[in-house]
């Protein structure tokens, strides 16, 4: 590091996580646009945003969970269970808004159970949410005997299929969740407490922060957001399936970590996670648009994510010199 004092400042700005993630995204997009002109069309970019919103909604919740040194492995199963609850109710003649509410409640209930066990029973979140992952998936399978529920009224599908002012509703839902969480995390005392629990739980107890309640609330949030993602997904597919959301937990965790969240807690931003989600969405889209051989797909996906992480890790380790 031969840079002078001014150089350090420039380095700090240049290598801030946002700039790094932003450039990774920009380079990816530029490369794809060069290889396939159709990549860079408004309709494809809107398409990527719409596809990314289900995973994005979950990943935002995951970011909050990781902030308090937690992890939520149950999100994929909760997506399935809560969307089935909503689907079964709306098929049973319940008005669509009540069915939406029940799906969110179901997600919140799974989250509350996770939160209670983690915060008050003091069981590690990995174990608790691994249990919920199995229990919710099993409940979803039992509930329908393994079969999907499909063919919904148009109104129920709106979160997945609707458009408003030229923007797909899934994208608006995602943006709304982002804005609401931004206000909560950055401007409310709740957000401040979440961050202090994550960076130093002992100090948080000392500062008279209600640690168990705040921790539990974060898991409830993750559950509700998984339920919301389930509604968007069910709307898009016109079907709720007990097998839906398989592996979503890994996508959400990968997006959050790619965006700078750290399992040691306290670090991670919504903006970083958003970038992580978009990078993953662009990779998936690029693979299909370029018609990459399916056998290479996993390799390409893994390599791009690993390369981004290595680059990001080196830069953030070396930046403040």
């Amino acid at each position: 590091m031969k840079a002078g004092k001014g150089g350090v400042l420039t380095r700090k700005v240049l290598f801030s996580p946002y700039v790094v993630l932003g450039s990774v995204l920009a380079v990816l997009c530029a490369a794809l646009a060069l290889m396939e002109p159709r990549f860079l069309t408004v309709s494809n970019l809107v398409n990527i945003l719409r596809q990314s919103s289900v995973l994005g909604i979950i990943a935002l919740g995951m970011t909050c969970v990781i902030l308090v040194r937690g992890i939520d492995l149950s999100v994929g199963s909760v997506v399935a269970l809560s969307s089935l609850v909503g689907a079964a109710l709306v098929k049973g003649g319940v008005p669509f808004y009540a069915a939406w509410g029940s799906a969110l409640l179901a997600g919140g209930a799974c989250g509350a159970l996770n939160g209670f066990t983690v915060a008050w029973m003091r069981v590690p979140p990995f174990i608790v949410t691994l249990g919920m992952m199995g229990a919710a998936r099993g409940a979803a399978l039992l509930f329908t005997g393994g079969a999907p529920i499909s063919g919904f009224p148009e109104a129920f599908r709106l979160p997945g299929t609707g458009w408003f002012a030229g923007v797909p509703l899934p994208v608006l839902v995602f943006a709304g969740v982002f804005a609401a969480l931004f206000v909560l995390l950055e401007l409310s005392s709740w957000g401040e407490q979440v961050r202090s629990i994550g960076s130093n739980p002992v100090a948080a107890w000392g500062a008279a922060i209600p640690v168990p309640a705040i921790t539990a609330s974060v898991f409830v949030l993750s559950g509700v957001l998984a339920g919301l993602a389930g509604l968007v997904l069910a709307g898009r597919l016109d079907a709720a399936q007990p097998t839906a959301g398989l592996g979503y937990e890994f996508g959400a965790i990968a997006a959050a970590v790619l965006g700078g969240s750290q399992f040691s807690g306290g670090k991670g931003t919504l903006f970083g996670t958003l970038m992580g989600v978009l990078i993953m969405g662009v990779i998936g889209n690029g693979i299909n648009v370029l018609n990459v051989n399916p056998f290479y797909e996993q390799v390409v996906r893994g390599l791009v994510i690993a390369a981004a992480l290595v680059f990001y890790g080196r830069v953030s380790a070396g930046s403040p010199a």
Binding site: E36, T41, N44, V54, L233, L237, A239, V289, N291, P294
Partner: protein, 296 residues
């Protein structure tokens, strides 16, 4: 003294009596089915019963209720009963292996139906011919779009036997139509939401698509949702498996066709080949069961 004598006489009588019983038992076939809680396997059982009646053999049927422990105890029961042969539709390809090894040790031939076994000695495996099914789907799709145009293939989980075989059959069929170009061949992992997202992306890249073949119905149903949301009309979709949602989509005219397995045929062929084998006929290592297209 008198008691012991009586006992030995009784034992001798029992021994004599059990002899013809054992002989009769060799005309009996044991059938273990993974679950009868699924109409597919109920139909398979009906096929087996029909053939057994026709050939005059007796069937002992067990329902494993999707429980590997239950499957194992049913297999052990059949080995105890010294049935002539065991036809098993395993709950799990690995979990069935110890029972097959026990049957092998007891000299009872084993036949697997629909789902195979990872090891142990099996006379033959009776299952749907996925290559033929893929070919059938490809030919149907090709004819439906008039023998020329652009088609998309949605691939199952890469490396699985179903994806390999269905894809192979489809590509074989496409070779017969030089006017057809496969413009995209992408993995969507047998999954409906992946089918939706992958086909959304392909729709962005391909302004012209005449037909889609997916290695299973879940993916094709996702692709149909993508095409409908994008307002792209005139694409011929063909799926595989004939799941309920797909059969309904065929009835509604949203899906052109889906390939159906024929569980009844599996049951019929299973019993037929087991009897052939017991009568000393040579039979192949695997028995492909024909598939059929559901188009209305």
């Amino acid at each position: 003294m008198k008691g012991r004598r009586l006992l030995s006489v009784a034992m001798a009588v029992l021994l004599v009596l059990s002899f013809p019983l054992a002989a009769a038992a060799s005309q009996t076939l044991g059938v273990v089915i993974s679950t009868l809680n699924n109409p597919f396997f109920v139909t398979l059982k009906d096929g087996a019963e029909e053939k057994a009646k026709e050939l005059g053999v007796e069937l002992v049927i067990y329902d494993a209720q999707d429980d590997s422990a239950k499957m194992t105890s049913s297999m052990e029961d059949l080995i105890q009963k010294k049935v002539g042969a065991i036809l098993v539709n395993p709950t799990d390809a690995d979990a069935v292996v110890p029972s097959i090894l026990k049957a092998n040790a007891a000299g009872i031939p084993v036949f697997t139906i629909d789902r195979g076994a990872t090891s142990g000695e099996v006379v033959t495996h009776i299952a749907s011919d996925n290559v033929a099914g893929g070919k059938m789907a490809g030919e149907f799709l090709a004819e439906k779009i008039g023998g020329k145009g652009k088609v998309v293939e949605l691939v199952g989980i890469p490396g699985t036997s179903a994806a390999r075989d269905r894809g192979k059959g489809f590509h074989e069929a496409m070779e017969g139509y030089p006017g057809i170009k496969i413009v995209a061949s992408q993995a969507a992992d047998f999954n409906r939401d992946r089918g939706l997202a992958v086909f959304e992306n392909i729709l962005q890249a391909q302004p012209e698509i005449d037909g889609v073949f997916a290695h299973n119905d879940e993916m094709v149903l996702g692709a149909i949702a993508a095409a409908e949301a994008a307002g792209r009309k005139g694409i011929v979709f063909v799926g595989f498996d004939a799941v309920d949602d797909a059969v309904k989509a065929v009835k509604d005219g949203r899906l052109a066709a889906t390939v159906a397995q024929q569980p009844k045929e599996m049951g019929l062929l299973g019993v037929e080949y087991a009897v052939k084998y017991l009568e000393g006929e040579a039979i192949p290592d695997s028995v492909p069961v024909p598939l059929m297209l559901v188009t209305e």
